[in-house]
Symmetry: C2
Subunit: 788 residues, 2 copies
Amino acid sequence: MKTDAHAVLTDKDLALTNAYWRAANYLAVGMIYLLDNPLLREPLRPEHIKPRLMGHWGTTPGLTMLYTHMNRLIKAHDLESIFITGPGHGGPGLVAHTYLEGTYGEVYHHIDQNEEGMLKLFREFSFPGGIPNHVASEVPGSIHEGGELGYSLVHAYGAAFDNPNLLVTCVIGDGEAETGPLAASWHSNKFLNPARDGAVLPILHLNGYKIATPTVLSRIPEHELVSLFEGYGHKVHLVTGDDPRQVHLRLAEALESSYRQIATIQWQARHGHSLARPAWPMIVFRTPKGWTGPRELNGLPIEGSWRSHQVPLGDVREDPEQLAMLERWLRGYRPEELFDATGTLIDELASLPPKGERRMSASPHANGGLLLRDLRLPDFRDYKVEVSEPGTVDSEPTRVLGTWLRDVMAANQETFRLFGPDETDSNRLSAVFEITDRAWNARHDPNDVNLAPSGRVMEVLSEHLCQGWLEGYLLTGRHGLFNCYEAFIHIVDSMFNQHAKWLKVTRGIPWRVPVASLNYLLSSHVWRQDHNGFSHQDPGFLDHVVNKKAEIIRVYLPPDTNTLLTVADNCLRSRDSINVIVAGKNPSPTWLSMNEAIAHCERGIGVWEWAGNERGSEPDVVLACSGDVPTLETLAAAALLKEHLPQLSVRVVNVVDLMRLQPESEHPHGLPDREFDALFTKDKQVVFAFHGYPWLIHRLTYRRTNHNNLHVRGYKEEGATTTPFDMVMLNHVDRYHLVIDVIDRVPELAVSAAGLRQRMVDARLSAHQYARDNGEDPALIRDWTWTG
Amino acid sequence: MKTDAHAVLTDKDLALTNAYWRAANYLAVGMIYLLDNPLLREPLRPEHIKPRLMGHWGTTPGLTMLYTHMNRLIKAHDLESIFITGPGHGGPGLVAHTYLEGTYGEVYHHIDQNEEGMLKLFREFSFPGGIPNHVASEVPGSIHEGGELGYSLVHAYGAAFDNPNLLVTCVIGDGEAETGPLAASWHSNKFLNPARDGAVLPILHLNGYKIATPTVLSRIPEHELVSLFEGYGHKVHLVTGDDPRQVHLRLAEALESSYRQIATIQWQARHGHSLARPAWPMIVFRTPKGWTGPRELNGLPIEGSWRSHQVPLGDVREDPEQLAMLERWLRGYRPEELFDATGTLIDELASLPPKGERRMSASPHANGGLLLRDLRLPDFRDYKVEVSEPGTVDSEPTRVLGTWLRDVMAANQETFRLFGPDETDSNRLSAVFEITDRAWNARHDPNDVNLAPSGRVMEVLSEHLCQGWLEGYLLTGRHGLFNCYEAFIHIVDSMFNQHAKWLKVTRGIPWRVPVASLNYLLSSHVWRQDHNGFSHQDPGFLDHVVNKKAEIIRVYLPPDTNTLLTVADNCLRSRDSINVIVAGKNPSPTWLSMNEAIAHCERGIGVWEWAGNERGSEPDVVLACSGDVPTLETLAAAALLKEHLPQLSVRVVNVVDLMRLQPESEHPHGLPDREFDALFTKDKQVVFAFHGYPWLIHRLTYRRTNHNNLHVRGYKEEGATTTPFDMVMLNHVDRYHLVIDVIDRVPELAVSAAGLRQRMVDARLSAHQYARDNGEDPALIRDWTWTG
């Protein structure tokens, strides 16, 4: 349906819209440059200019225009919308809008809407102690910083899921559009359900340039561009121009018809007119970079070029010509028509934006904690594996977890989703498909199973999309879990960084309300990728995670099913954190009854007395373990020692909550030194079998009393397509090697246990040879009581 | 131009081609299942079946068909080609082809082309001690493992750059196509120069399913699919079917016309018929997953479904019905027609594939070390900064490096490229544009600078593409450098992992010839992202890197320009490693003359006597540093101590080669304990200012004698949009804090230096306040001699 432009924007609307845009641009330029004289009441002088010019102009005028027009659309149709700024370095534009519509002053009480407030705003923008120049968490209305590019569109979709009344406006930079994650994100429309989810309106901000080069999408023919986005499944609206009047008219029209298309799609889907996947609208907004800024400098173009990317005039303080150019630029917006004598936005303009929570900067969706509700969690104890004696009952930890997750999902049909790169079945969480499906809004085939538009399991072969969708979902006040093969979670290392940084900063912003934690379940882990081989073996995400601020980070290595259930329940209740759970999926012994598991997880670390043979005083040696496979090997080693060296007093310590190992000064879960010493002794040998890289344990414990006696075994990049037991042997974490380690480190055993040592060496060789000959492990080697 | 199918493939060709395909499929199924009876000379019995079934069938028949047809195309036109297998888990198919064309037996001499050889092949496939089941580095002809999906197409383009006669056949899985990196990779065609580069023929292997779900691209309408790839700039050839005969004919035709289009494009570009960017051909190959395998099991479809992804019949040993199905499946390929009485491929088929190096499995391009030539490196000493006295001459390290890189590029016009995500200028390597341009084959505008199809600087806003192109370029025997903002290099953490694993494995494969190292130059680093703020601050790539096998990894932190030149020269000469250089771009003092820099870098670590004030015996305290900003602060702290506490004997140790800190047992560059103790003493206090996270230093040194006295300052996730000096203050790495650290740790100073301590506290406060008031650092704070 073709819309008549004049029906959308009258001449008066046009003038007001343009004036509002000028006001936003004026403020944006002021933020980048001005230290004083905010309303240009006097001629601009060098001392009015900030000594260090920081901020990005190039993308700003495009962003301010889009925001201005979205305000109009919201008011015209009483919409709920949030604004996601892919070119997040365009902070000046977004901050300007939050100031103009009053939100900025509402969350930062020292900023009034007058000349003094404006001056304070200019000064604190990108100033030490002030606010960042990107659209960071300090900016009201933002759920997306955009410091690292590529994630705007996945965040937008994450926000839209289960928010039927929300229209997520998502501006995508044409630089950002070159990134991998963004290029894949367009296909998110195959996972959106128009009946129950909200809508995303992607706007490609095609201003032609990145930092120093043209963008790919701005330099392909228009027919290729349109073809590309039609291929992605969109209906394309082109808005092109450099004359503001014309662009205002075209943009208003494009937004209006996009809205109508969205409304039609949603109405049809919600009134039983079952549709094939609709072609959702998107807008290509092709306007000059640095629009309305200086045309050129020293004969080189600035407007419409990459030279406007950051600060277009860099020597304003020193160069009178540049100073004059800046003054002309600023006065070109005619601030005297926009702000009254006190520096307050004139009423006619102040009445333009939506009010209250309809302002995109004040939407509770963009401060998700406001909307967050606790999950209704079924009692995890009801899912326990019954254990009368440790290690006698096998279970598949993630499979059992799946039954609990199934019921979590059933009880929270609108606020919890499960994310994963086509690995939910492989990670054995399949029980969830008893009550829901995979979200799927592309074509269906008769043989399909567990696929539906209304599915709540989000599967796509892109860890980036899983992570980004989940982040968007969480930041808008919902809950979720990301299950992934352990090795490939590194794909989102950098997204994890950005989310951890976001949480760290928001924890210090009083008006930001806590959101649900981001929960990772890493399975198909390093020790059981024997069938896929070396490329699938990497436990290093833990190392990556613990580099971030301690208060954000939790790492759990439940050794069996009951501890996994306990830990998962804990994670789903937590806020403003990132929880990493590493758990196995293969049948494995259950060590603790549910009550023991709860007690063990509450402590996070503890002695397993039944596994050792301590007699009263301190043990001769401590066997520590963290992770399911290392725990199995450690318990088998302890059994070997008990059988063959009954005079040796052995203690077994298991670590579920990895951060307990750090000093309490370093991490909120850190164990006090006294308690640590009580567990690990002050001077006995400790052989620690760890799930990940061994040095991570050293990094966490190097300040502990007994660190010099700590000997860690873990993954050391030795792996292949082989058998499970060969994997632990290759990396020296096997039971025999742990026994050898004990013998080699306790001097008293050098002679007395020489025979046992040789038997352990022989047992390793024989297990190795058996695997080479038969392609599998010796009988019962998975049994922890098996001693070769 | 429409090709007549029958002109491509005669009936006889068709029969032979199909027979060859059957042979490859037979071998692939044999590898997955058979432990004995390789030629089915007797009825199949349970004991002929491997005890543990591993390998992926689903993608295999598609891969084998594509490979078979590429063989025909290569022979018909005497082409040079390599085959990149995106669905790299389809190892059985690729291994089968390398066996059939003889390469496998040439590199693994125990495998003959007869029944015994076939049996050995079946047994060692995916067997402990054998070869992996993915297309790993053990597979001749592979430069791409595909364990982690998403990088086939970037690897293909990397291989094609500067290889004008090479046709890179690249099969992309439709699962892989959902990943971000792959989705962005399609735009690589805007960076390919038909005149000088080779060609990439992308083949989308649309078999419909991932592990457990349909693929997005298989479930969008064909018009969207075609539109998408036309939007990416391709001419699309559709090959669809499930009848082998028809598909053979269509595929032969599609390959033939694709080849002709490529030849035409190249001929025109190479004969002065300047063209706009051509629409390169690509093929969509839509055939059933698990094609020719079992149709169904227990009433559920296998062929044409995700159930064929891995091992379609899982209980062959136990279930007689499945055993019979397997036997029917294998006999369906009629092995008795394909192999003679000795088990050798019949002559008629053996003559089909290309010979010698024309075999894709034997192409020297896929074993790039064979083609590698040393770079012609200009003498880096000619680019030095003249230094008469330490710290008196400022320079911008990366800018100077740029002049050397310019001349490296000029001297190696066909074998060296520079890669980066639009940050080459920002990282101040701009001198390279004096002699080359950015590669760019999209539309040009009159105002463009430094853009040309023949450019050798590869800039695209995707770290994934930069990394992947470079990997492909290196693995085919060329050289390169990837420059990147430090924080965002985490985007390729996982790609780095896979490449490091590839190098580790190839180092153990005798027939793999060493390739040039992968070199990272990380600039715009954590300490100078004060203007972009917290999101841009992350030095953790180093932590990630050092987790990989020590023999692969080098980390350099040159403190000034001359050391940077020395280190870079060293990296560009190295082989089979990954070198990470972290260097600043801002004007900063030059500490060492070129001769001193060379000597210092040769040692990798050393005492800077001129910076301390040792007198004869051991110092009272050691100030250690690594990284340019920490070195500046350390030297300023040493100057403060010398001035205010002249009686204190201070030693300054600088670390360029980070791995020198590890014990020699852990890393080939590791310093022997005695030398370490000589530098750091056995019992004096050490205050270490480090570029990255402080615990990395602890992780490297925890076994050292004096570790308990080591106190490390580094980045601890405190950052903002602020001033450079405020950044170091926020993280306690500033000169004042280092002095305070010394005073607090040397008991003798508690009283005597109490006044100095207070002055340091005051100086910090005053610098902080100055920044808050003025938006910049106090005058001269960048000057290392400035003491507040």
